[in-house]
């Protein structure tokens, strides 16, 4: 087996991201291209168009969004895709695509009447809200799940173990959006606060705005709960598998304290499957963040995605697919790299 350093492994994995992202963009674009409906009419639905100059407006809009050329003829799908990538000059004779860092203009989010907002601006503005919601929730739920799983596995069949198993089973069978609603309901009866976001929470700079953190609490709690029920079940079963191994019996026979057996011998080895499980939980967490954002009205990337899907804002959907795919791949890369840090046996 060829030994390569962690750094070159990481580099290779990062390089490998690009073909996958390209694949995501090709599939998204192909699906949009194959979908029924006239994109110009979808765009025109949000346009103030007078009846007599309908055709003129139609052609103009088609030209603006790059579906028609200046003669009113449809532009080929391949040309549109390469324009989106930034390899071919667009209708204004400029190369502006994803390679130039330009994601195009939104069809639904408009500035004044008819000019679509640049998607890059919208996404950069909203991405922080999503990251501020998902990252702490992810970290907290991983740590809590590990602690709960360890306690459950070491006290198997105790009252605590049974209670937590039942609770996590109930939580696991609850759809995320309904859990979010129940969290809202509970908070309303306890604190008279539903957590449905209001505008004043997002006045810039939001980092020093106490209202922002107040409204962050309930979505984070929901996301932590959803992550927790998934992770703690698996942590418990993985740890129980390891506690049945022979070397644990050996460690006990040597006369080590139970604490030392668990934290020094069992837990170290259980870390690897736990990291795998965390990696498995990632898509659920991102999907869950979309649902939680939708319920709480949190103006992150998830709500932008939901709105654009409902309004069929095609460039926006392309962009959010791309960003969500990139986020997911990035998180997964981190998970894979942390294998090497946790397990000294692993050599790439």
């Amino acid at each position: 087996m060829i030994k390569i350093s962690l750094r070159s492994y990481a580099l290779r994995r990062i390089l490998y991201l690009f073909p996958t992202l390209l694949g995501i963009s090709i599939i998204s674009f192909a699906l949009i291209a194959a979908s029924p409906g006239d994109p110009i009419q979808i765009r025109l639905g949000l346009w103030i168009g007078e009846q007599p100059e309908y055709e003129e407006v139609y052609n103009q809009v088609g030209f603006d969004i790059g579906v028609l050329d200046e003669n009113g003829e449809p532009v080929s799908m391949f040309v549109r895709y390469f324009r989106w990538l930034g390899l071919v000059k667009d209708q204004y004779g400029v190369r502006s695509g994803i390679l130039q860092g330009n994601l195009g203009n939104s069809w639904f989010y408009t500035m004044s009447g008819n000019i679509g907002k640049p998607i890059s601006d919208i996404i950069v503005g909203r991405l922080w809200y999503t990251l501020f919601l998902t990252t702490p929730a992810f970290v907290i739920s991983t740590i809590l799940a590990t602690i709960i799983g360890v306690i459950q596995a070491t006290r198997q069949y105790s009252l605590w173990d049974k209670g937590v198993t039942l609770a996590s089973l109930i939580g696991f069978s609850m759809p995320v959006f309904w859990l979010a609603k129940l969290v809202m309901l509970t908070a309303f009866y306890l604190f008279n606060f539903t957590g449905a976001t209001t505008g004043d929470a997002f006045t810039e700079p939001f980092l020093i705005n106490p209202r922002f953190y107040l409204f962050l609490i309930l979505p984070t709690v929901t996301l932590v709960l959803t992550g927790l029920v998934f992770l703690s079940r698996l942590t418990r079963s993985q740890l129980l598998d390891i506690l049945r191994q022979d070397y644990i019996t050996t460690a006990r026979a040597k006369g080590l304290t139970e604490r030392r057996v668990i934290y020094k011998h069992a837990f170290r080895n259980a870390m690897l499957p736990i990291i795998t499980v965390v990696g498995l939980a990632l898509p659920g967490l991102l999907g869950g963040s979309v649902m939680v954002e939708g319920v709480f009205g949190w103006p992150g990337l998830g709500s932008v995605f939901l709105t654009s899907a409902l309004q069929r804002d095609q460039p926006m959907m392309m962009a959010t697919n791309f960003v969500f795919g990139g986020m997911f791949l990035g998180f997964r890369l981190l998970v894979d790299l942390s294998y090497a840090i946790v397990d000294p046996r692993i050599r790439y």
């Binding site: 996958t20 599939i27 759809p175 898509p283 649902m291 995605f305 409902l310």
Partner: protein, 347 residues
């Protein structure tokens, strides 16, 4: 001498009896016996079975009149729809009113809290929620089960073919799978449904057909990976070699030997996946991409999602039914996982 032979005969008879016992119990009998040991698993099994019975009964009742041409015996133009589900009292011309039709708006009885007439209450549109919950079971369960079954079958076929033949097809499928799994599932699901839902407008009530097709086309990856891995290990075994030496065709080997041998993980995935499918389709409806005319729990929940604080009974019943269904399938899936696990069999 005679005593000895009698003892031998007795022992052999006992062994034969034991063999017969084992012979009669195929894999599923063994699995069922192991599942019976798990209390929670049996609870899940009973929940699932009773929900299925409920769904089938609801389906038959709802279709009964249409099947036998009874829905409009007098050709009354104002009586196109059935209003109530009734039982005829034999020997009289009286009917006992059981429950309102799920899409019959009961005049004047909107927004009633649960009471003697309407045990689950009525909603803002004037529907009887008990009736909506009862009759909604068939479509809700069918969507979950059919959606997941399609996904599993598709994944099984793709995994079997790509694992068995390898080569170019396998490479293409693996790359495609990598790209599809690089997107969080729910996001991809919403994306595809939102751009393709217009096709449904030409088919009445066809939105959920398209949703199921899309769900299967997105979700085959996990199953196909498992079946493929299983096949790569099975391909080297002697009985496949022997079968090939006997001149069996590829299709026979795949469908007769390989797929049945890799069935047990697929069954666990399917059982747990049904729960996930029901959640995903309900979530789809919850975020506005459902079919508002369909009678399902997900759509009822979606319609009343903002009424939780004011009219608690409207969203609670469908949500409770979804919760119970998912709980049942999860419990059953966990028990199946334990029962089919070879590690467990040794212990």
């Amino acid at each position: 001498m005679t005593i000895l032979s009698e003892a031998i005969i007795e022992r052999e008879a006992r062994i034969l009896e034991e063999i017969k016992l084992v012979e009669g119990s195929n894999l599923w009998a063994i699995v069922m016996r192991r599942m019976k040991k798990s209390q929670m698993g049996m609870i899940g099994f009973y929940i699932v079975v009773s929900l299925m019975v409920m769904a089938i009964v609801a389906f038959i009742i709802l279709q009964y009149d249409a099947l036998f041409g009874l829905n409009n015996p007098t050709n009354d133009p104002y009586d196109i729809l059935n209003y109530y589900v009734e039982i005829w009292v034999p020997g009289t011309d009286k009917y006992i009113r059981l429950i309102a039709h799920p899409s019959y708006i009961i005049p004047g009885d909107q927004t009633l809290a649960p009471n003697a007439n309407y045990p689950f209450g009525t909603d803002t549109r004037g529907f009887d929620i008990l009736s909506r919950t009862f009759f909604g079971s068939s479509l809700s369960l069918i969507l979950g089960i059919v959606g997941q079954m399609t996904t599993s079958v598709l994944g099984m076929i793709i995994g079997a073919v790509s694992g068995y033949f390898g080569g170019f097809f396998d490479d293409v499928v693996q790359r495609l799978n990598e790209v599809i799994t690089a997107m969080p599932g729910f996001i991809l699901f919403i994306f595809v449904v939102s751009i393709f839902r217009d096709i449904a407008s030409s088919i009445p009530g066809g939105l959920y057909m398209i949703v199921i097709v899309i769900f299967a086309l997105i979700g085959w990856g996990g199953t196909s990976l498992i079946v493929r891995a299983k096949i790569l290990s099975l391909k080297q075994t002697e009985f496949i070699e022997a079968e090939r030496a006997l001149g069996a065709k590829d299709a026979r080997i795949i469908f007769k030997h390989i797929i049945p041998n890799s069935l047990s993980p697929v069954i666990v995935i399917t059982t747990l996946g049904i729960a996930n499918t029901i959640i995903q389709i309900a979530a789809l409806a919850f975020f506005g991409l459902g079919d508002a005319t369909a009678v399902t729990w997900g759509d009822d929940l979606a319609y009343h999602r903002d009424n939780l604080l004011t009219y608690w009974w409207m969203p609670t019943w469908p949500a409770l039914m979804i919760f119970i269904t998912i709980l049942g399938f999860n419990l059953m899936g966990d028990a199946l996982l334990d029962a089919l696990d070879p590690k467990q069999a040794a212990g």
